[in-house]
Symmetry: C2
Subunit: 672 residues, 2 copies
Amino acid sequence: MTNLYELAEIAGNKLISNEIVDIDTINSLKNFISDGGFIGLSQINPIAGNIEYNAKKIAQHIKFAESIGLETVIFPELALMGYPIEDTIDRHPIIVEENIKWLNGLAKITKTTIALVGFVEPRKNDKGKKYYNSVAIMQNGKIQGIIRKSLLPTYSEFNDYRYVEPSLLAGVQDVKTIETGNCVQSSSKLYNGYAITICEDCWNDSDFFDRAIYSTDPIETLAKENPKLFINCSASPTRAKKEQLKHNMLSFIASKYKTPFVYVNQVGAIDNNSFDGASRVYNKDGKLIARAKSFEEQFLIVNPYKNIGKIYPLTKGLDKSLTEQKIFTLEYESDLERTYKTIIQGIRDYFKKCGFKRAVLGLSGGLDSTVCAVLMADAIGKENVFGISMPSHITSKESKSDAELLARNLGINFTEAPIRSMIDTTAECLNNLFMNIETKWGKYYDKECGTFTNEPNNIYSSFTQDNIQARSRAMFLWGISNEFSSCIPIATSDKSELYMGYATINGDMSGGFAPIADVPKTKLFAFARWLNANRDEKNAIPEAIILKKPGAELAIDPKTGKPLIAEDALMPYEFLDEIIWRIENKNESYNDFLDIEFVYEKRNHVSKKQKIEWLDKFYRRMSTALYKWSILPPSVIVEARSINKYDYRQPITSSGINYKGSAKEYIDSILN
Amino acid sequence: MTNLYELAEIAGNKLISNEIVDIDTINSLKNFISDGGFIGLSQINPIAGNIEYNAKKIAQHIKFAESIGLETVIFPELALMGYPIEDTIDRHPIIVEENIKWLNGLAKITKTTIALVGFVEPRKNDKGKKYYNSVAIMQNGKIQGIIRKSLLPTYSEFNDYRYVEPSLLAGVQDVKTIETGNCVQSSSKLYNGYAITICEDCWNDSDFFDRAIYSTDPIETLAKENPKLFINCSASPTRAKKEQLKHNMLSFIASKYKTPFVYVNQVGAIDNNSFDGASRVYNKDGKLIARAKSFEEQFLIVNPYKNIGKIYPLTKGLDKSLTEQKIFTLEYESDLERTYKTIIQGIRDYFKKCGFKRAVLGLSGGLDSTVCAVLMADAIGKENVFGISMPSHITSKESKSDAELLARNLGINFTEAPIRSMIDTTAECLNNLFMNIETKWGKYYDKECGTFTNEPNNIYSSFTQDNIQARSRAMFLWGISNEFSSCIPIATSDKSELYMGYATINGDMSGGFAPIADVPKTKLFAFARWLNANRDEKNAIPEAIILKKPGAELAIDPKTGKPLIAEDALMPYEFLDEIIWRIENKNESYNDFLDIEFVYEKRNHVSKKQKIEWLDKFYRRMSTALYKWSILPPSVIVEARSINKYDYRQPITSSGINYKGSAKEYIDSILN
């Protein structure tokens, strides 16, 4: 015999795939929930600004909710618009007009079931920003009241306050004020006993947080009205360590106020933001009683008053992640499933929402391109991925065969394209050109004289020849993108190398999407093993690729006669990744690092001199990498902090920052 | 006999170039201003985050001010840090610690002259953001009080609220609260009778603006204290139409409150922001009595109480610009000097602050690369610019000779690098590769079947061959950049073509800086003529280049047998630029455009059908150009609005936005 959740899943799946839910299923569901108090959590994946697409989806969910007799159906924050929409609404106000038109249409189709639908509300006042971030409470064919977001995040990926005015009031506001945009409370702050808030509005409990960012707490205000239920409409992207915090906070609030809490989150990716869904319900004791799937659309039916709900398993890593650990240990295992799903969703939605269908990437036989190939195959389908091996004279036989084996294991398309003749012709053309230029310009900068000279005055290694290889490969990939419809090249740069500027502009850094730009190299090794163990096709990644020391295979090490290893040019990845992790997660700086014993240092007896050399190199290279970060292709944020340009912004011209700090005596001597 | 301003200029110039001001000049100046009430406006060009560089400069100015007995010396907003610094201070807190150390050092060197120095103030409270945007009032060796910014802009290029807490109080706050970060008023809101505010704090007069963004007006609050002087420390970048607004507003405030107003602005560029300086003083009747130069560092001495000051000429166009005009007329003349100085400063400071010394660019004989060459020569010196002519089989003889003539006229370095062999080899390699791929992948997308096929099913024009040319050229330029020290390539894309995505990734769009990315094509024509008329060397740009119809010279038009003209692939530039201008300046949309008669339309009797075709093409191409905007190299903002990624942000995945809007009947039929 089927139970409520088997039925709900059948119906929910049809709803998600835009199919009609058959009348038998509807009637059975109706029967199951006929004693009332059931609520639908509509965890949808909207397209930013595509109101029609979003509205049609919302309409189907409202009709379904009505058909089975739900008390209420709840959508995520800005469901009609998609979150974030950012400056788009300011430059193209037609989109806001559209969202109002469709909102009014949606209100008309509501009957007894209450629908909570997020939208962008234009304000007509003469003060403040032009919009609110609002939720319409709809019932009986009309908008009955408005909730407006009060707490507007403006950190990391969030920019709400750029276009949204904070609401001065918590709870339900008079629907007539849509005309004016003033804040006027409705006769009650609650609607049907619900205390409704929007996303950040529930993130300011001063008992829970050490440091509350905002001066008001809408939850606290609404709790005084004795609500029967808290509802929060949210659009909260996944980041390392966030789920545990979120769970603890929501559970804390529910039990603090002895009130059940329904939290509905957006799912899907919008550019760099990958939203994890996992909408959930806590009962009045703060106990989790229901949770939707992570990284999937779902229509979840719950009864928060009677503890009826189903808890779908949480993607591993959402609840526990590296950043929880006090010390950097390079143990990434607990976070790898989350990493995988975050990136897969990021790629899939970028392609779908932009209309791309196929991808091409260079397969070097190295770790970066290998992991990218696996992710692309899983995200858009192996038949839609073309791996190109582009060996040069430096490429080892092993790299070539590893790449081919990988492609065969994955079942993606594969071909080899020798780039030798192109590199040779380019190099020849360039050498002729360089000779011409040398007659007028010196190659080397003489710091003492402040002039340029053709006399090498220091050990100078030119990357010109190496980069010709990387750029020739990108030229091939973009050529394929031009020639074959709906196909984009993949940029394979990883986070560690981006921090070091160890990526070639118009080379490996170039592409239509950069899947692993927020994954550090040491994590990629663990990730490769995880992929081998956890994908349906086991061990798709040849062991040799994982064991090999990373190197771009662009130049030969004169000492060994073998291709140069990246760690020789940079520093050990374990050391590098710990610096990055500490800066991003601990706000530590150069001087702190001198006092901290790094894991790599401990394991390998690194000398103080060597450590300082690496630290100096890190800050020097990072300073000059800022330009590269600014032109990095779209990528998805994975870690707690990133260098994604829409998440972190540092002026490129902030050269000469002294990351070590000046001594007080030096300052005094200079100024006095 | 020398007067005050001749002397002040001699001293100021020495100060700006870090030379010692001789004792005779100091004594003469001292004599001139011995009756008191003189104030120094220190219009400096800081480097973001380079505290030491900024502090040394500030120290010199303070010492000079003291030496001649000024009442006060005033620096711009965040003078010690540079504005904007954005997320840098959050990720690298050491920089904030540094700015406090140096601030304390600077305070110690003050004597009787008051110094107002902007800095980032960390807050220790448990609520709110971590920093204030503050000004320290220093005198007699100590910080005497603090001003904290209240109104925090978060639109366009501004992101203050990301990291700064707004001050709840206007005027002087107790210096002891530096320890806590609380807002506690000092015994008086004024210091020495000054009402001091920071930048945006003076931009909210509800009598002046139709729409006040913020709910408080610090100027109004402070005016009640009967100040003898308003002082505003600012960092306000130039944008079209801004100067006129600023002048009117400051003059209005001074006369409204019958109080003189001293406004000190930052100068120099920090990434995309080009600050115009032009610090100034209004007397109590709102009359301008002094103004510093635009786009140059200066130390200006004034007596606001006695109307003593000098008004340096304003860069033309700062006061009057296109956007003032009700109708788009393509008459750009009034804005060209401002455009020139904005970009020159943008280039110069980007190079200087990043440590680059030389630039290389491709000279095609077209308008874009020509204007870029002129700007680069003027910004970094002709000897530091290398123009490379890279003709392909499609390049006309005229283009080649035009490019060479231009280089000769400008005196920049020049050479020719034929790319034919490289293009041929690349094309051959690619064609082999394409044949391999075609066995597995169809080239063309069949919309009806949703599959790919190698049977051309519609008129499909491949840009592959064309783009090989553009990318080969970029490969040469980046090769030179790798081989020759401190040299970066220049991206030559213009604003009109970027809007249309008519720029090749890894081709003409690629480079270390994009000088004309915010200049529309029609303005470039006027700009070229202006450059010919206004530079010391007249007519450097050959007339043929200005007369020629723009085209990338990447493909041959089969109809004419001549290189394709860009307007044929796009639409007439006059029409295109009017769409862009209307969207950016008027917030108009597709439906508005149907009702508006465009200037080009009027002049050329365009049919309704043709107009609709162009409008559809515009929105279709713009939607798919969003990706290109996100990877555009650093550029300087020129117009009132731009597509610079740090000024305007639209999700790339916002595909399927309906810029025409849906009809109400359609919505009803879909939802019901």
